[in-house]
Point group: C2
Chain length 404, copies 2
Amino acid sequence: MTGGPLEGVRVVDLSSVVVGPICTRVLADQGADVIKVEPPEGDLLRNLAIGARSPGMPGKFMQFNRNKRSICLDLKQPAAMAAMHRLLDGADIFVSNIRPAALARLGLDAASLAARNPRLIHCAILAFGTGGRYANRPAYDPIIQSLSGIAGTFERATGEPRFVPMVMTDHTTGLIAAQCIGFALYRRERTGRGEAIEVPMFENMASFVMTEHLGAASFDPPAGPSGDLRQLSPFYRPLPTKDGWITVSPNTDAQAFAFFDAIGRPELRDDPRFSSAQARTANAAAYFEVRAQGLAQRGTMEWLAILEAADVPVAAYNRIDDLAQDPHLRDVGFIVPEDHPTEGRLHRTANPNRFGGGERADALPAPRLGAQTREVLHEAGYDDAAIAALLDAGAAREASLPPA
Amino acid sequence: MTGGPLEGVRVVDLSSVVVGPICTRVLADQGADVIKVEPPEGDLLRNLAIGARSPGMPGKFMQFNRNKRSICLDLKQPAAMAAMHRLLDGADIFVSNIRPAALARLGLDAASLAARNPRLIHCAILAFGTGGRYANRPAYDPIIQSLSGIAGTFERATGEPRFVPMVMTDHTTGLIAAQCIGFALYRRERTGRGEAIEVPMFENMASFVMTEHLGAASFDPPAGPSGDLRQLSPFYRPLPTKDGWITVSPNTDAQAFAFFDAIGRPELRDDPRFSSAQARTANAAAYFEVRAQGLAQRGTMEWLAILEAADVPVAAYNRIDDLAQDPHLRDVGFIVPEDHPTEGRLHRTANPNRFGGGERADALPAPRLGAQTREVLHEAGYDDAAIAALLDAGAAREASLPPA
């Protein structure tokens, strides 16, 4: 009993790297039992990411795979595939981020699995939706950041395309896949039936960008140029102060007028370009320039004090290494120390969201490759002799304990 | 009957601008009946965004508010608040992005509403979680991009902090709120009880950044510096060609070696810095530099042809205005023409995700302010005389039809 809204939900997770693992981490954090099925070489992220205390256990892998159990199966062997099907017979959810053709070759496509387990929710996370011409192309985050328009928004803002310095399209699509699974779980309670879901990265990120930036070009013919000019301004960024950077966000009239006073330009509240929220939006470029000029006059700490006192939304920015010390995050217990059984002491981030109906209370450490192979096979009905046979044949593998 | 996994779910939506409206748009796209409750001046986004054919109906507002119905209530009037409570008595979900203190002042906090409707799922989207010292601060997307470490990832990559040119933290948190609501709906089917959910922007985005970039600094003491050096490289971007830009993503050995051949550097496959995926990750900066030097030799179209033929993941980038013409998006019918009853012809984006169990089949146009005031009040049990009284008092308001 884990607690959490997904208590009792069993997930078989044949996914790797980021887009699938963040989806199933959400399910795990919400109380589901996530069985991570890994090939003999392990999830690619075990070896792709750097920064580990022991092989196959880098910090990035551990962040994406907490609260899961790992079973290692060599699905090329029929005995391993038989074990996989036994796991799927008892599963509520199957998640993969494998291309559709490869999934069908393995016999793990939605139609094949529905025949055995009609209550199964089959979630295929794809780079591109089936039915379009890119469907069989390989894609990684930079390809999707390029095609979905993200790189293009930077070009509009600064003249040069670039990517968000995160695997944003993997990460966001994985969060959406978990969302879709929740909806399908809800429907299954009402209909008794599972279903197949397809969650494509490209379409989801194109939707993200177009929802924000189609704007006036939503109309046919367009009512004006595409794009929200506030976010596409070159000044949509922390602005330089005398000694660093600061972010201000004076949006309402009260905030904007207090800001004009603070920078010694009280006359701007009567400037028709800046006298209302609508006017400031229409003149976003000019408004951002006024901000930039004003903020250059003083240092960051001085501005923080002045603008907080004037009730203007203001912040310095946190670097990655600052986050663990952020006072608010400390107040809410966002960083949880964890003593991992083999990897030592870690910083674990908490589930950011609060559920009044109960939350997952236990915390499983990120698994070494095949750490729960034996336990999961037992639960699936294999006895000790059958497990030994699978292990002997190399169809299933176990984590070897690191030397003491 | 809408079809879609959330068919029959009724949502009362007291949210505005982006973070709440994208959450409830997801619910609406998935078949829920979303009743958007707006004050007499309307959702701020109606007036904040530019690019409209008629007042209060800019393209950006319409993208975030399709498939919803609008009722306009002046909640300062007791008769309007009584109508709000009648709506909530019949609702499954209540979504707001109002600060906790203001919600309590309105009597719309979770405890008050649970007393009347114990099956209600009360989703409060917040800037900062309650229990931390920033809880009552106002925040907009740039403040959260600063505090959550997003601006800091750009500083690591390029030396200067900046924001993603989208309201990424609003948008992502809204998607997560919809995800949490799905999980609570699932649990309610099993327990019969609603619950209160809190979805804070800051914590969710700090989780996003730390999951990706804590890396070796997940360990205490750290096993190395924080950050995934691939995404934090200044070269994590489309790279310049002779005449434009191109994105390549040669990750596997086969892809990387084909790429080395294509740029005329076949010897690099034996270079220990680049001979395996792990080596290329550890030497990400050098690997990106090799790519940049190689790609400068030819034009974009030439590279696309060469690298596609060599099976190297490659793409040019789409600008916002290119997306509607993208051939894959056209194949999958991603852009749907819509003839809005008052705003004319629009480009509407499709729900990116496929649900085998059925999808929302009907399409409601984005509502003018108060377009369904009368209809929704009728459904809540008000008769014509009672509705007339609310309208006469200004407690409820209707959309005025634009002049013919």
